[in-house]
């Protein structure tokens, strides 16, 4: 029947094929979407599944290997056999019978005990009831006698039952014991076997951890995201703390597991796992991986995306690409304050030392490095010091005169150099002339007089000048970076300055420049004259530049010089009159490491890859390389070694000004701050030129290889060794503790604050908890002093054969002597003396002091070594405090103890 408007044909048309196609498509799309969602977009699943297989197979193989070993071990076989026999016997044999008997007896005993016990419990209930009735009657005024009787009767019954209950209990326990004994053979054997199979069975845990079921076939664990959330670790653009999500371990599953060292990535064990990932260092479940390695922590949709790379090692457009190899060191400083001692961050440590010492902070402000003093000499009296022609050439290019100098090359034209020299000259003329008037030509040495030079050379080589300065080509002490000298080499010093200045300078450096790091060596006039004479033979006088005097006095030059000095920021490193308050001319670098590519100006370079790394490297290599016709750049050329540039870059990359929450921070205690500050000061004064400190330095020792005993003392562990008050006095006013040394500990004329900083540094390094402690002489047992007085004699340890004792000097030449023991009471820490006497070689390898212990004499203090050592400590501490070596204590009471370190 046809209805109008309805196309019957249309109604009857079959859409089956369309539906079929549609549902087929739906099925395909559904499958595809599942596939895409679970497989394509989750590549980490593949890795995780692969890792579970790997983990299981490795553990399985190790298990089988151990199992094979056990199978081949006759001891194991025998034990296993014994156990089987014992078990057999316990189940069916002789033992089984006995066990059965015992068990049935035990059951009976148990029933008997429980019956009796129940009876007692009932009596107790009845007693409760009786007491209630009794109390009730008492309160109502009824007679209580019947109840008293009832109670007495019940108590008697209870008492009577006590022994049989106890007997029944004991019988039951005895039987239990006996059964246990019967079984103990099996238990013992099982324990023994477990010990043998421990090596094998430990592999069961990883096998279980990698699988859901192992039997009858292996089903591996289903992959799941392994994620670490570091709350408040990062900051968003509004400086609000946000969490960091780190999913690296979804693929890198063995980073913190031993035994995967030779697997391919991502399954390899971290190469420094034991040191860096250990529980007390950076457990990855707390720190994740990105806190050191960067990368895109939450990204799991592809290896390149997670690593923040375009291709392995290429990372043009990612802000936080993965840091591989030494680059990781950059991030240490985000949480650590004291990075210098890190063995795993040598590049960072070197970069930091270079940064602090090459003068970067003169022009660039960086948080945490604000207080580093200007590294160059003062120019306030420069006209009294240098030859003007030399000065012009030096300004033109300092590297020409001293390739290893820290002063960078500004690439000035001669005219500009003259202008700057003229400005500095005019500025310093008044102060300089005044200084010259006060410091006349010395009487002991004349210009050009070489007669004293050999004597001066001998002094330079013996009193310690070489701890800082070189005096010939190739001679150097402490270097900044790889090939810069911290302290100038003086091989051409005659070209720079003359007799008058040198003489007064070496006699008292702070007189010319109050903030200098050069110390006084307490030279006599004659010594200063000899050294001056020697120094003026090093190099030739500078060739004068024609008409230099007039040009230096020319107002045009002077004016131009002033503007150049301001433009190039000379005052960043040097004290210049009237420019004390100028601010740094360079950009602040506090967040330099987080600069994005848009913030870096590549100039017209198309040859430099567009990455932070490449930009920074080339900037340090050729500082003005990004200059264009329109954009001028003023940063000077330092001519750093490639290695130094990379080290500096490592440090700079870490300049992120991160605000990491305290719980992630390493030691930022006052002690850590003091160590960092003290080390900086120690570097500035170049203590490590002579002394080995923190196992670094002691550069002067290379001149004493023949006889190391004549080299300056090694100061590793100094904080633990000496008393802080003594050290304070000694640094303030050094004196010879070791009479055999020709070297002189210089007087640095440090301020109180600086000395305290150094002492806190030494104490911090040695972890000295309490710098002041009381050594009570009154409490020293007389027995100890008596014993020690015998121990130090010739018949025993003969201490004074080498040790000086006040005025009493040992026999033989001074190089065989040892420190004055009368100084020890005020100088040494009593606890250190004990450690020292126990094993001197351990405290200071190579020392001349032999070990006397173990093996003290049998007839003193019961032959006990530790008591003898304590006695010697007490004696040494009291020596030089009024109690002479082999005499009776003085009649007058000794001072009542005193403050001593620990």
């Amino acid at each position: 029947m046809a209805v109008r408007g309805v196309d019957e044909k249309e109604e009857k048309k079959s859409y089956g094929s369309v539906f079929l196609l549609g549902s087929a498509l739906l099925v395909v799309v559904t499958i595809w979407s599942f596939w895409d969602d679970n497989i394509t977009r989750r590549p980490w699943k593949k890795y995780q599944a692969e890792f579970y297989r790997l983990d299981y197979r490795k553990a399985r193989a190790a298990y089988d290997e151990e199992n094979k070993k056990l199978a081949a071990d006759p001891a194991y076989q025998e034990l296993a056999k014994k156990l089987a026999a014992e078990e057999q016997s316990l189940e069916k044999g002789e033992l089984a019978k006995k066990k059965k008997e015992l068990e049935s007896e035990e059951k009976k005993a148990d029933v008997r005990f429980k019956d009796l016990d129940q009876e007692v419990k009932f009596i107790k209930s009845e007693l409760e009831e009786a007491w209630y009735e009794h109390d009730h009657a008492l309160q109502q005024g009824r007679p209580i006698k019947p109840y008293q009787e009832k109670i007495a009767e019940l108590e008697a019954r209870q008492k009577k039952l006590e022994p049989p209950v106890e007997a029944a209990r004991q019988k039951r326990e005895r039987l239990k014991e006996e059964i246990k004994k019967l079984e103990s053979g099996v238990k013992d054997l099982k324990d023994q076997l477990a010990k043998m199979t421990g090596e094998r069975d430990k592999w069961l845990t990883p096998m279980q951890n990698a699988t859901l079921i192992e039997k009858p076939f292996v089903v591996y664990k289903i992959p799941s995201i392994k994620q670490v959330v570091l709350n408040e670790f990062d900051r968003n653009t509004f400086d609000q703390p946000i969490a960091r999500v780190d999913r690296c371990q979804s693929c890198h599953m063995a980073a913190n597991r031993a035994g995967f060292e030779n697997e391919k990535q991502p399954f390899r064990t971290h190469p420094r796992r034991e040191v860096l990932l250990a529980d007390n260092a950076h457990p990855p479940e707390k720190f994740g991986c990105t806190s050191c390695h960067d990368g895109q922590g939450p990204a799991v949709s592809g290896v390149m995306k997670a690593h923040g790379e375009v291709a392995p090692g290429e990372h043009n457009y990612w802000e936080h690409p993965l840091l591989r190899g030494p680059k990781v060191q950059s991030n240490c400083a985000s949480c650590h304050l004291n990075v210098q001692p890190f063995q795993d961050a040598p590049l960072l440590a070197q970069g930091q030392r270079t940064f602090e010492q090459i003068g970067c902070t003169g022009c660039h402000l960086v948080k945490g490095y604000e207080d580093i003093p200007k590294i160059g000499p003062s120019l306030k009296r420069i006209s009294a010091k240098v030859d003007p022609s030399w000065m012009v050439r030096w300004i033109e290019n300092p590297h020409k005169f001293r390739p290893r100098t820290r002063m960078p090359n500004f690439d000035f034209k001669e005219n500009d150099a003259v202008a700057i020299a003229a400005f500095l000259w005019s500025l310093s003329k008044e102060e300089g002339d005044k200084w010259l008037q006060e410091h006349p030509m010395p009487a002991g040495v004349r210009e050009g007089d070489k007669s004293l030079a050999p004597q001066g050379k001998a002094l330079v080589e013996s009193i310690g000048c070489k701890g800082c300065h070189g005096f010939a080509e190739g001679e150097f002490s402490t270097t900044v970076g790889k090939e810069k000298d911290l302290i100038p080499n003086l091989k051409d010093i005659a070209a720079k300055t003359g007799v008058r200045w040198i003489y007064h300078w070496i006699k008292n450096p702070r007189d010319y420049f109050p903030a200098t790091h050069m110390p006084s060596l307490r030279l006599t006039d004659a010594e200063a004259a000899a050294i001056t004479s020697y120094l003026t033979t090093l190099g030739a006088k500078a060739e004068p530049i024609a008409g230099i005097e007039e040009r230096l006095a020319d107002q045009k030059y002077i004016k131009r010089g002033e503007s150049l000095t301001r433009k190039y920021g000379c005052f960043g490193c040097h004290d210049i009159q009237g420019m004390e308050k100028e601010s740094r001319i360079g950009v602040e670098l506090t967040t330099f490491g987080s600069k994005t590519l848009e913030e870096l100006f590549f100039g017209n370079h198309t040859d430099i890859p567009n990455t932070w790394d490449d930009w920074t490297y080339n900037k340090l290599k050729t500082p003005r390389t990004y200059a264009t016709e329109r954009v001028e750049q003023v940063m000077p050329q330092f001519e750093l070694a490639d290695e130094d540039i990379k080290a500096l870059r490592t440090l700079l990359a870490g300049f992120q000004d991160r605000k990491v929450p305290t719980r992630y921070l390493a030691d930022h205690s006052q002690r850590a701050v003091q160590v960092v500050e003290g080390r900086r000061l120690m570097h500035q004064y170049n203590c490590i030129g002579c002394h080995e400190i923190e196992n670094r330095g002691g550069f002067i020792r290379k001149y004493y290889q023949e006889n190391p005993a004549l080299a300056p003392p090694i100061l590793n562990g100094e904080g633990e060794k000496v008393q802080s008050p003594w050290l304070f006095g000694f640094i303030k006013q050094p004196f010879g503790i070791r009479p055999w040394l020709q070297l002189r500990m210089p007087t640095f004329q440090l301020g109180d604050t600086e000395v305290n900083t150094l002492i806190s540094y030494f104490n911090g390094l040695s972890r000295v908890e309490i710098p002041y402690a009381y050594f009570d002489e009154q409490k020293v047992p007389k027995e100890h002093l008596d014993a020690a007085r015998i121990l130090v004699t010739k018949d025993y340890f003969n201490c004074f054969s080498c040790h000086q004792q006040g005025e009493k000097k040992p026999e033989g030449p001074p190089e065989g002597w040892a420190p004055d023991l009368t100084l020890a009471g005020n100088r040494l820490s009593p606890a250190w003396i004990i450690k020292w006497l126990q094993d001197p070689q351990k405290v200071q390898p190579g020392t001349k002091m032999p070990s006397f212990f173990p093996g003290g004499p049998d007839n003193i203090l019961g032959g006990k070594d530790d008591r003898q050592i304590e006695a010697l400590r007490d004696y040494i501490m009291s020596l030089g405090r009024g109690a002479p070596a082999a005499e009776k204590p003085p009649a007058k009471p000794a001072p009542k103890g005193r403050v001593a370190s620990r």
Partner: protein, 239 residues
């Protein structure tokens, strides 16, 4: 400093590892062994030995005059040179149960050079009755510095690994000697006539090395036949 010592360590390690593998020595019974004997001559004229100043404990140390022992030549023969076989792998047993003796008589080491197989214990005597200390500047073995006061007549020091160790007494600066520990038991020190003898050497061809504290090293190939004496003479001079 650290870097250098690290490199030195690596270098020593590199050199020592394969060598120690090659030189691993096993001892056993030697039947019909031969001997190696000869003399070590000094080339050129020997300088007159330097007199040493006894500056301390003169009542004991000053009894005899002291001369520098670092180069002793008697009638053209080199005394105190250490002769050893460097490349022998099997031979007589190493007997480390027997202690080797070093005496510090009148503030001088006797003998001046003491050679023995590594693993031996040196028994150090102090008949002087004054304080000595024995300071071994070892690099391969652990450095030691032990005091030997009057009441300790003898002390013992075991030398575990092969090494020539310079020994000094820090109390008496002039005292100097050597402890030479070797890989194998074939070692001798030349006597006053510059001669030496190595016994019980299995037949074979070996490298015989002479080491002297001042003159350094020299070596020769020697072939030993059973029950026979192989003669070999050396000559050493200042380089």
């Amino acid at each position: 400093m650290k870097k250098i010592s690290l490199w030195a360590f690596l270098l020593v390690g590199l050199v020592a590892l394969p060598l120690s593998d090659l030189l691993a020595y096993t001892g056993g019974d030697v039947k019909d062994g031969g001997t190696i004997s000869g003399t070590v001559k000094f080339a050129g004229t020997a300088p007159a030995p330097k007199k040493l100043e006894v500056s301390k404990d003169k009542e004991v140390c000053g009894k005899t005059a002291k001369t520098d022992q670092s180069l002793v030549v008697s009638n053209g023969n080199l005394v105190n040179a250490v002769v050893s076989i460097t490349d022998i792998k099997t031979g007589k047993k190493i007997d480390t149960s027997k202690k080797v003796k070093l005496t510090q008589k009148e503030c001088e080491y006797h003998p001046h050079v003491l050679a023995f197989p590594a693993g031996s214990t040196v028994e150090i005597e102090n008949p002087d009755g004054i304080l000595h200390n024995i300071h071994g500047y070892s690099k391969v073995n652990r450095e030691f510095n032990t005091a030997q006061p009057k009441f300790k007549k003898t002390i013992e020091q075991k030398i575990e690994k092969p090494e020539a160790i310079s020994i000094k007494c820090d109390v008496h600066g002039w005292m100097s000697g050597w402890l030479v520990a070797t890989e194998n038991p074939y070692v001798a020190v030349t006597d006053n006539s510059g001669s030496f003898k190595l016994t019980d050497v299995p037949a074979g061809s070996y490298t015989v090395e002479v080491w002297h504290e001042t003159l350094g090293k020299t070596s020769q190939k020697v072939t030993v036949k059973g029950k026979e004496d192989a003669k070999v003479n050396f000559e050493m001079g200042k380089k």
